[in-house]
């Protein structure tokens, strides 16, 4: 198992946003987290990436305990993410965003950066080539020199994915990557995710669009009010009465 989460719990001021959540993700799979708004999905991402400390529970990645590590250490361990509310470096160009995502590929420190060293230039060149290749793969090569903020929303989401991939992670957490995309964009995103899986990448996916989840996910975990209410293959979960109830309940509230 690549990722093993056990007994994960997080309270916000007495209210449990995540309560005793456990799941296992095998290597090279797409594992989806679904659930109504406020179910605790993003909070689980924040706990895995170290942005928030859990109140209890363990998170093992490649056998290594992640709880207690700083976010940058978790990134260095091979886990990166995208954000539900985009967190692009909007003052940078598209290429610079990806180069920054590839930070872990470089070695040059603060002091060396002040000088013009051949080793540094070689490193810069290599990382830039890889970043451009990644942009091409994701279809943003034309926009490489544009300010990130100038991109249309759908491309900003893609750029966040590119940035998350730039350091060569082994697990990527995608928080609603299709939100705000039109149906064509969503379908090509789904295809891209499947392609990444073929290359051996493991992904955790939060997604509200059921069609996408059914299409790409290998396994699905359903949350409601911070609790796990079901886990299984997309087909199993879809047929689960608890899940239907949770979603219908939500529909009632919305209507």
């Amino acid at each position: 198992m690549l990722l093993e989460v056990k007994g994960l719990t997080k309270f916000f001021g007495g209210v449990a946003a995540v309560k005793d959540v456990g799941f296992k993700v095998s290597k090279g799979s797409i594992f989806a987290l679904i659930g109504p708004n406020g179910a605790g999905k993003t909070t689980i991402f924040n706990l895995i990436t170290g942005a928030l400390p859990p109140d209890s529970g363990t998170i093992r990645f490649e056998g290594r305990q992640l709880v207690g590590l700083k976010p940058y250490q978790i990134a260095a361990a091979g886990i990166t993410r995208t954000f539900q509310n985009l967190q692009l470096f909007s003052g940078m160009t598209v290429l610079e965003n990806v180069l920054t995502g590839a930070y872990l590929k470089g070695r040059t420190g603060f002091v060396k950066s002040l000088f013009c060293l051949p080793s540094k230039n070689r490193e810069d060149k290599r990382i830039k080539e890889e970043a451009l290749a990644l942009l091409e793969e994701i279809g943003l090569e034309e926009a490489a020199g544009l300010p990130a903020a100038a991109l249309p929303f759908g491309q900003q989401r893609l750029l966040e994915i590119a940035r998350a991939l730039a350091s060569g992670p082994r697990l990527v957490l995608l928080d609603e990557p299709a939100a705000g995309l039109n149906s064509t964009e969503t379908r090509s995103l789904a295809a891209y995710l499947k392609k990444l899986r073929e290359k051996g990448l493991t992904m955790l996916l939060i997604e509200h669009d059921m069609e996408t989840v059914m299409e790409v996910a290998d396994r699905v975990l359903v949350l409601n009010f911070g609790h796990v209410i079901a886990e299984g293959t997309p087909q199993e979960v879809q047929a689960d009465p608890e899940v239907i109830k949770a979603y219908l309940g939500e529909d009632d509230q919305v209507a």
């Binding site: 993003t42 924040n46 942005a51 928030l52 954000f83």
Partner: protein, 293 residues
Amino acid sequence: MHIADQLLQLLFTGLTLGSIYSLIALALVTTFNITGILNLAQGEFVALGALLAVSMYAAGMPMAAAFTVSVLLVAMLGGFLERFAIHTARGASGLTLIIITIGLSISLRGLALLIWGTETYSLPAFSKGGPLFIGGAAVNPQSLWIFGLTAITLAGLYAFFELTYWGKAVKASVINRAAARLVGINPHTVSFLAFTASGALGAAAGIFIAPITMTTYDMGFMLGLKGFVAAVIGGLSNVGGAVLGGILLGILESYSAGLISSGLKDAIAIIILLAVLLIRPEGIIGAIRERKI
């Protein structure tokens, strides 16, 4: 003088100093609670209030009139600055707003320097007669005026925010902007009023302390900073805590200046500030709502 008398004397000095800091801290905390802005120009309101009153008194105005006019003028200045700088920059980052209040503070100080020069001024005490003796220690009657002003201000703020409809509505509007509109509170007006009131309170504090401190163009900087230290000790958003913090700071300063070295007086406040900020940041950071990721 007996050592016990000396300690008592230092205590009274400390209480007087502490009341002054408390007054400034009260103004800071009230504006911070209402607007989320820490007004680093608050100390200049104190200095300007005192200097204006000094000039008007010297020009022959009765003390009560000089007091009233100077409080009104500084209140207007507070309101004007809110409209001119804070309101115009609304929506800017917290850092921008701090830099703005620092800019206002040094401009006001420069203005005071231009008008009043580097001389030291003073006002006569509010009431005639020599010091009162308690135990073996002397208490300046002006200190009693200052205690009185602090007590009235604290009681007034408490009564306004806890007992009146408008006070409660303002408190609610700080927590929830949407609710503010519902009860008919306009946040912009409230911010304007908060700065006006803190101008008035600062000026009043300045005039009350003018008879017992050196009134100079640059007195506001350290006073404002110490008011801030008092507020930080008290938790930054807590009115009662601000008063306690001020008193504690005053007493600590008085004893360290009296028993160790007078040069240490200003350093003590800064050391406390750094200690609170660095060692117990969670105590004050709690005042700012955690940002959602």
